[in-house]
């Protein structure tokens, strides 16, 4: 997994609540058996004027000029600013894969759906929960200032706004450790293989019908 330590990134605002993972990456792209290459189809139905299917040359498709990520001022954004309940719906990890492949490294919003939140950390994408009022201010500032960028320091757990104000955020110790060091969960868990084996043996003795 890619490490996440510090990021200074342009912010793109997606001002709608309940953005579901079907919208982040529509189902026709889930037929892929790979993990990469989903970026050009992130938000496909909002982003393009035609209907996207796997295998199309996305660079030749007509863009929807009204969709916020298509505005020239947000090109190159690496921080996505969102509203409540972002990432709800399907558990597809293709959603964080698509956002990461698009170029986002952090997502800031008031709340995230649980599965999406989890999936993001596994892919070096940092979701940050901030109080609604803080998010409102950032939305306003982004709109007012072209080239609005935030400075995110994971180690210190702070976001610095262009006006100099520092906002701190919460994150699980374990998740922070994994992100900062780019650690793979599986390798870490397998260090505890003996504990797992002991647990399993006990369970097998107590509830043998589970091990048919």
């Amino acid at each position: 997994m890619r490490k996440f330590t510090h990021l200074k990134g342009l912010v793109a605002p997606l001002d709608r609540a309940n953005v579901d993972t079907d919208a982040i990456i529509p189902k026709q792209f889930l037929k892929s058996i790979k993990r990469s290459g989903f970026g050009p189809n992130a938000f496909d139905e909002w982003r393009y004027l035609d209907h996207g299917e796997p295998g199309m040359d996305n660079s030749r498709r007509p863009l929807n000029p009204d969709f916020v990520l298509n505005k020239p001022r947000y090109q190159g954004a690496s921080v996505l600013l969102v509203r409540d309940n972002f990432g709800c719906g399907s558990s597809r990890e293709h959603a964080p894969w698509a956002l990461e492949d698009y170029g986002f490294r952090a997502i800031i919003g008031p709340s995230f759906a649980d599965i999406f939140f989890n999936n993001s950390f596994k892919n070096g994408l940092l979701p940050i929960k901030l109080p609604e009022a803080e998010v409102d201010i950032i939305f306003k500032q982004v709109e007012e200032h072209q080239g609005y960028a935030l400075d995110i320091d994971l180690d210190k757990q702070t976001i610095t706004r262009p006006d100099g104000k520092k906002i701190s955020f919460e994150i699980d110790g374990f998740r922070k450790h994994c992100l900062l060091n780019g650690l793979d969960d599986i390798g870490l868990t397998l260090q505890k293989a003996d504990l797992i084996k002991a647990f399993e043996a006990k369970r097998r003795a107590e509830q043998p019908w589970l091990f048919a």
Binding site: N18, D20, D22, C88, G89, A113
Partner: protein
């Protein structure tokens, strides 16, 4: 200290807890399907890892499989590749059971698991699919996971988790005639909102829940995720135990007694405390129909489409305006006056035998209305299909002008050939009415199977109690 059912399930699976509460949780059952597993198997191969416990895996192909002309195989080459990739992976890695495309026990993963007894009380159940919450109907701790977690469970038999908060949703009293678990589920989501359960594990309790069959409880737990909760669950009672008896993967006769004795303990203790309690009165629940692009955008059959002006919060108001525009609806239109183009009876929410019986009872002796282009019934599995045919339900549906299909996810998410065309309006028994969910530009209204059948035969949404 009195424990909730969730506490018991959680405590029973803790392998190790870190200082910050991150817990290594042991997983008993891992259900696998073709869409969210290929990258996980690929990851195992790249790292030269094996499955930790082959016998925990039960797999099937469901999302991409066609629902007609099985003799032609899977026409779409990319869908076919995904299904064949699963075939190859199971062959290479192994599984307790695999029900591939066309197998008589193949079906939607959340229908197939319980009907084979692969979901048992007290288990932790995971699957790379958000509707894994369904299995909580059996007093399991069951939730959806992402593909990285699928790989993690495959390689370690464990999941890294933090304990959720607990919520009790208690539905007191008796449900009226013509109402179903689906109406309860939508009424709950209407009340708590689609993010209401975020961060919680929900236990459904109360007289109305105890009165539900296992099929009904699965419908309810299935939709826990639409209320934001990764896991929904119902305590064990006689219904649970009677349902499991004799199923292929249920405990063998010599272990049955010990298993049942343990299962009986899987209830919340008297006086156990929940972080949040929500109560509903079953007698007040009316037939539900959604009008928008989120399951919380729901009203009753005698209600009307709302106006954005009804909402004070600007983000909400704009969301409603956008939903109405997408859905092609005018504020204040009575729900019962909205005509439909298609009807879909199926999905892991409502494709079990009881659902098909309820829909058939409404369709019997009537005919699909002239303005309805397609009304399809898609059984949840090969076994459900066979049972329905044994009961003559296929005849009832066919005689009424419905199409009777082969099992699979079908038009629930339209990864196969079954889909809505842009602008088409559908009465659907599935669980998500998101933009484009049933086909690009398609308009989905979520209802119960009985209400879907009522819409099919009248051509518009209709109160099933008044037909």
């Amino acid at each position: 200290m009195p424990q909730t059912l969730y506490d018991k399930l959680w405590n029973n699976h803790v392998v190790h807890t870190e200082e910050d509460g991150t817990t290594l949780l042991y997983i008993d059952r891992h259900l696998v399907h073709e869409v969210t597993s290929p990258q996980a198997f690929e990851g195992l191969k790249l790292a030269n890892r094996k499955l930790w416990r082959i016998s925990s895996i039960v797999a099937t192909a469901d999302h991409n499989t066609p629902t007609d002309h099985w003799e032609l195989g899977i026409q779409d080459p990319i869908s076919r590749q995904q299904v064949e990739t699963l075939d190859a992976n199971i062959k290479e890695f192994g599984a307790l059971a695999y029900f591939p495309f066309k197998d008589e026990r193949q079906g939607i993963v959340h229908v197939m698991g319980p009907e084979n007894g692969a979901t048992l009380p007290g288990m932790t159940v995971v699957c790379g699919d958000s509707h894994t919450s369904t299995h909580g109907a059996f007093a399991c701790l069951a939730h959806g996971i992402g593909t990285s977690e699928v790989e993690h469970v495959m390689a370690t038999q464990c999941l890294l988790q933090k304990k959720s908060k607990s919520m009790l949703v208690r539905v007191d009293g008796k449900l009226g005639a013509g109402l179903t678990a689906k109406d309860i589920a939508l009424a709950i989501i209407g009340k708590i909102g689609t993010a209401g359960g975020t961060g919680y594990a929900i236990e459904f309790g109360g007289e109305a829940i105890r009165a539900l069959s296992m099929e009904g409880r699965m419908t309810l737990c299935n939709m826990a995720i639409e209320g934001g909760a990764r896991a929904g669950m119902v305590a064990v009672d006689d219904n649970t135990i009677n349902y499991l008896k004799g199923r292929p993967f249920a405990p063998k006769p010599e272990q049955w007694g010990a298993a049942v004795a343990y299962w009986r303990t899987l209830v919340s203790d008297e006086g156990a405390e929940f972080d949040r309690v929500v109560t509903l009165d079953a007698a007040e629940i009316q037939p539900q129909v959604t009008w928008g692009t989120s399951p919380e955008m729901v009203t009753t059959i005698d209600g009307a489409v709302p106006s954005p002006d009804d909402f004070a919060d600007p983000v909400k108001r704009e969301g409603v305006a956008r939903a109405l525009q997408y859905m092609g609806l005018t504020p204040r239109t009575p729900m019962a006056e909205i005509p439909i183009d298609k009807v879909f009876i199926g999905s892991c929410t409502n494709s079990r035998i009881e659902d098909l019986r309820e829909a058939a009872a409404v369709a019997k002796g009537k005919h699909v209305a002239a303005n309805v282009k397609l009304a399809m019934v898609v059984p949840g599995s090969g076994l459900v299909k066979r049972q329905a045919e044994a009961e003559g339900l296929d005849r009832v549906f066919r005689d009424a002008g419905f199409e009777w299909r082969e099992p699979g996810c079908s038009m629930c998410l339209a990864m196969n050939a079954d889909r809505l065309e842009p602008g088409e309006r559908c009465a659907s028994t599935s669980n998500r009415n998101f933009e484009g969910r049933q086909g690009n530009g398609g308009r989905t209204h979520l209802v119960s199977p009985a209400m879907a059948a009522a819409a099919a035969v009248t051509g518009h949404f209709a109160d099933v109690r008044k037909l």
